[in-house]
């Protein structure tokens, strides 16, 4: 298959999805599921960068999501209304209903990527908080650090009354749509795939295999770790921002350890060290959650069982360690072909 099929295919898919959602062909339910799928793709591929390609065990992904979500939501519900409508920066009572009216116009579509970028940057900064301890600490101990990070973020938001406390932020304007999520999902997949196959990414893979050998082979492990964690948390922040503008309200419990676990399940379901696997895992998991919805609470019993069975019987998940040939860069494909011929 020619290489330009991929961009063409993506543009075609984008047109189809956008057109269908504009024409109202998708019900609200299907639209929401599609948006969840897209957000899950972003979260999964970003966590896969740290857990799969770098071989760490980071269980605090929801913490970065929370930071991205809160930053974007604060901008949309407090900062922009303050400058545009004169609303107070820290509301004393209930939110005035006009808080989201600024988002009705078309200008919001131009501002939204900037808002998301700011959320992602905030989350990336927070990624440093996890990256720096990772210089000396690996394995189980890093799991505790990331866990503590997730909990500290959640607890800090819960205890900050100016940010809504445990009630969280409400009246977030609905800006996330299928086209936006599609765009960001493609960006995240593309960015992380390119990162992996760049020299920085090779460094990350080297760290996974043998950190000391990598250090000896002139891999700057500190820089690679910072890059990996920050890129991962950047996209997690973007995912969180998109989620905030889908759910229209966020509170700290949205970003608890369970959310981190869901992303973990998606990563291991799809397969570690695989961008294609992350895509498949996210889609499969979203579909699974919807399919199991009639089970009610028992759905949450099936999902950990799924994780256990994956580990016991198919550790590589759906597509672990492998990639679709279409998603590989040109240079890699040549090497692929010659290795198997």
């Amino acid at each position: 298959m020619k290489k330009y099929y991929v961009p063409l295919g993506l543009i075609g898919l984008f047109i189809v999805l956008t057109g269908a959602s504009w024409l109202g062909l998708f019900s609200d339910y299907i639209q929401t599921v599609l948006i969840f799928m897209g957000i899950n793709v972003i979260l999964t591929v970003s966590l896969n960068l740290v857990n799969g390609y770098m071989g760490e065990f980071s269980v605090g992904h929801a913490g970065f999501m929370a930071i991205g979500a809160y930053i974007t939501a604060i901008i949309t519900t407090r900062v922009i209304p303050h400058f545009v409508l004169g609303a107070p920066l820290i509301p004393t009572g209930l939110y005035p209903p006009e808080v989201g009216t600024w988002a009705k116009g078309p200008a919001v579509q131009l501002v939204f990527p900037v808002i998301l970028l700011l959320g992602g940057l905030g989350a990336a900064l927070a990624g440093l908080l996890v990256a720096v301890p990772s210089f000396k600490i690996r394995g189980d101990y890093l799991a505790i650090i990331t866990l503590a990070f997730n909990y500290i973020v959640k607890s800090s938001f819960e205890n900050t009354q100016a940010l809504g406390g445990s009630r969280g932020l409400v009246s977030i304007p609905r800006i996330t749509t299928v086209p936006w999520v599609f765009l960001w999902a493609v960006v995240s997949l593309w960015a992380i795939r390119n990162f992996i196959y760049s020299s920085y990414g090779r460094g990350v893979l080297a760290i996974r295999e043998d950190e000391i050998a990598a250090e000896l082979m002139t891999v700057n492990t500190r820089r690679s770790k910072i890059l990996a964690f920050c890129i991962s948390s950047f996209f997690a922040g973007i995912g969180g921002g998109l989620l905030a503008h889908l759910l229209l309200y966020i509170n700290p419990t949205t970003f608890s350890i369970f959310k981190s676990t869901e992303v973990l399940v998606m990563v291991y379901l799809g397969g570690m060290s695989s961008v294609s696997g992350s895509l498949l895992g996210a889609i499969a998991y979203t579909v699974l959650v919807e399919v199991l919805r009639p089970l009610g609470l028992w759905k949450w019993v099936v999902i950990p069982l799924l994780l256990i069975f994956l580990m016991l019987f198919r550790r590589e998940g759906i597509y672990g360690g492998r990639e679709f040939k279409l998603l590989l860069p040109k240079e890699e494909v040549k090497g692929y072909a010659s290795a198997t011929d």
């Binding site: 065990f57 189980d140 505790i144 503590a148 800090s156 205890n159 973990l264 949450w300 019993v301 550790r315």
Partner: protein, 292 residues
């Protein structure tokens, strides 16, 4: 001064419960070098078993405690047999993820089958309060501290002075040479899990007598705290688990006394973060050398 002593008593009570759970984490890590993330939920199951023993079977305190410990020990051994043993040769990450999954499974199956509402143990212990120079200690607290310390002494006896305990220490020292010496490694590992889970169940029973909330999600927070206690003390070390647990109890009660109680968990986590940054292997942990 009396206030400080009072809080000290509270801290020792909390610390002894954490210690019972942290011991399970440390023992399993010692023999298998894996963190049993399901352990906090084993604690929760122990509390539930105690609840059913006390309400359905109407047992008094000691049989409740024993039944809870036995039942949960059995659960711990089953988990090891079904979920961890097949992964003995797999990369360490797989076992950790499986443990995580087992923990979640336990939580949600309890939630789905038994419902989210909180249950309370019927009063099993005498309700006297003793007062020594303005420091109030209830009989409850004395029993909790006493039973915990008794169990820890018993554990120390088993680990230091019995053959099985010696086998456990040997496996922690060198897992691959020990089977060559005729030690039934699988049986000893099952025993380790049984003891660890039994202790966690004792912690669960004691916890439920002190704090009247038994609900499916109780294991999560307390399990994490006990895990952190084990890590701060040096995971793999039994002495470290006890020290870390009492230290964490002190930190929690201490911060609860000074700061608003909402911030208690947050500050405990931050303190732990700092401790791990300074001494990543914990107080009694041995830094494992990596040969290049």
């Amino acid at each position: 001064m009396m206030y400080v002593l009072q809080q000290l008593v509270n801290a020792v009570q909390l610390g002894s419960i954490y210690a019972l759970i942290a011991l399970g984490y440390s023992m399993v890590y010692g023999v298998l070098f894996m963190v049993n993330f399901a352990h906090g939920d084993v604690f929760m199951v122990g509390a539930f078993v105690a609840f059913f023993a006390a309400t359905l079977l109407k047992l008094p305190f000691v049989p409740t405690l024993l039944l809870s410990m036995l039942g949960t020990a059995f659960l711990g051994m089953t988990i090891e047999r079904v979920a961890y043993r097949p992964l003995r040769t797999a990369p360490k990450l797989s076992v950790v993820i499986t443990a995580w999954g087992v923990g979640l499974f336990l939580e949600y199956i309890t939630l789905a089958s038994l419902g989210p509402w909180r249950r309370t143990l019927p009063p099993l212990l005498p309700e006297q309060v003793y007062e020594i120079q303005e420091v109030r200690i209830s009989a409850l607290q004395l029993i909790i501290i006493g039973v915990s310390i008794g169990l820890m002494v018993l554990l120390d006896f088993v680990v230091e002075r019995t053959q099985e305990g010696m086998a456990m220490r040997a496996i922690a020292y060198d897992r691959f040479a020990v089977p060559l010496m005729g030690v039934p490694v699988n049986r000893i590992i099952s025993l380790t899990f049984a003891i660890g889970s039994g202790l966690a169940a004792a912690g669960g029973t004691l916890f439920s007598t002190a704090y009247p909330i038994i609900e499916p999600m109780m294991g999560m927070m307390i399990g994490w705290k006990a895990f952190i206690a084990a890590v701060v003390g040096g995971i793999g070390s039994i002495r470290g688990a006890v020290v870390g647990a009492f230290l964490l109890g002190l930190i929690e009660i201490g911060t609860g006394a000074i700061f608003p109680s909402r911030l208690r968990d947050l500050i405990s986590f931050v303190v732990v973060w700092i401790i791990l940054m300074i001494k990543p292997t914990g107080f009694f942990g041995v830094a494992r050398r990596q040969k290049v």
